[in-house]
Assembly symmetry: C2
Homo-oligomer: 242 residues x 2
DNA sequence: AAAATATAGACGTCTATACGTCTATATTTT
DNA sequence: AAAATATAGACGTATAGACGTCTATATTTT
């Protein structure tokens, strides 16, 4: 039985990958089930085995499939929370979950970087950074105070952009930097009086404190942030592998 | 100039990957620098281009290299915190950081799973789980209360094992399950009086609360845990990608 | 000088083939 | 019946070659 791939302008292995993904999602292939072997799929789709393999390997990396040498390839069980594992920005993830999200800019200023930020962003000593403090709302309730530090050298003109209700990562793309990776450190902390006031909670309430460094595709450190998230209204899901 | 690969019994692409890694680590190739093209490397190592490619792709997945279509492959800047990004267990990561770590078992019991745990571990209704509560210490100070739930069906005999100062993941391997992935939800919460007493802190102090589901290589859900970590003594670093 | 175009280098996709290694199962031997 | 062995199926590694696409740079044209 031949399977035919129609779309043009898309690599074959991507088509096969998506065809397999669709079969899994639609339940034609169910969790735990063995999928056809690389050879069989190659014949079905009339491509070479290596092409099928490339598509399968993608899905394995994603966690949708797993395989055992000498035995076969199997559909993984769901609950891998694939969606929450990707690096998404505030507005993206809110939109996906159908939540009303907004943000206001509290402050923009340019000043020399602190030692810590200079080190994290790999700046020369005394180099300037743009600091943007925003307050983020979910359903009109303040949830996060977000302090963002950007190298002034790379984003000097960004201070003239509209930054309300827009994610800064989208703005960065105009400057040629596409965000690729974040390294984040998480802690539970008591809210300072300043943060408590902004988030409309009592001082010393638990805050999910997050420091993160954002890297672009070429490894440039493009942003460093301090985030103060209301503990009772914010949770974060991550996936890690051995 | 030919480069020669000596070790036997190791795939060629692994040798090339490790040779490249060594060159980067030893500083022969420095961050930002362009490495030789796939064609050049194939000639140097006298292998096919696809073999070199497989090695390079591994290093890109790791974040050690990055590439730009039509331009070349480059050494990434460090600070990717590769070490903190892997899923490691409590004792592994403590050892790596040269920290004194220990744990005591407070309780072991077998009982029917709660609805939530049955759902997360994909158990039949009413199926039994083993609950193990441990207290973890760093430098003799209690840092984490750890409630672990395991399917009784898979690990019935585990209750007879020594579980003090041992990580349960190591014990699980004896039962044929190798931990592969964790999906964790993180929140900042106030400490309950029970948890506060165990961690020797005041009630309502910030706790980094963590729920996680642990999956084995074949996708079996092997453990569900609730973790209560002292906010002032525990932080977690994770990396996420788009 | 500016704009359009050509070119070379490098990565991206794809094929067809070969042989190695691992696992589960069937077969044979003890 | 148990143990050893063979076998088939499936993934793992590796090659050589072809052509596509992208980027930066050099060249030509305007």
């Amino acid at each position: 039985m031949d399977k035919i791939l129609i779309t043009e302008g898309v690599p074959l292995y991507v088509k096969i990958r998506e065809a397999l993904r669709a079969e899994i999602m639609h339940g034609n292939l169910h969790p735990g089930q063995k999928i056809p072997s690389e050879d069989e799929l190659a014949q079905q789709y009339r491509v070479s085995r290596m092409t099928v393999r490339q598509g399968i390997l993608d899905l394995i990396k994603e966690g949708l499939l797993h395989r055992k040498h000498g035995v076969g390839t199997f559909v993984s069980y769901p609950h891998f929370d694939r969606d929450h594992t990707r690096l998404t920005n505030f507005f993206e993830s809110a939109r996906e979950q159908g939540i009303d999200a907004s943000s206001t800019v509290l402050k923009i200023e340019v000043s020399p970087a602190s030692d810590k930020i200079a080190k994290e962003l790999r700046l020369s000593p005394g180099e300037n950074v743009i600091c943007i403090r925003t307050l983020r709302f979910v359903n009109q309730t303040p949830v996060t105070v977000h302090d963002s530090y950007l190298p002034h050298r790379l984003f000097a003109e960004i201070v003239y952009e509209n930054l309300e209700n827009v994610h800064i990562w989208d703005v960065m793309e105009k400057y040629g930097y596409r965000v690729k990776r974040a390294i984040q450190k998480l802690e539970a902390r008591p809210a300072s009086s300043e943060i408590a006031k902004l988030l409309d909670i009592k001082p010393n309430s638990p805050i999910l404190y997050k420091e993160r460094k954002i890297l672009a595709e070429d490894g440039t450190a493009v942003e460093f942030t301090y985030c103060y998230n209301r503990g009772d209204m914010y949770s974060l899901t991550v996936s890690m592998e051995r």
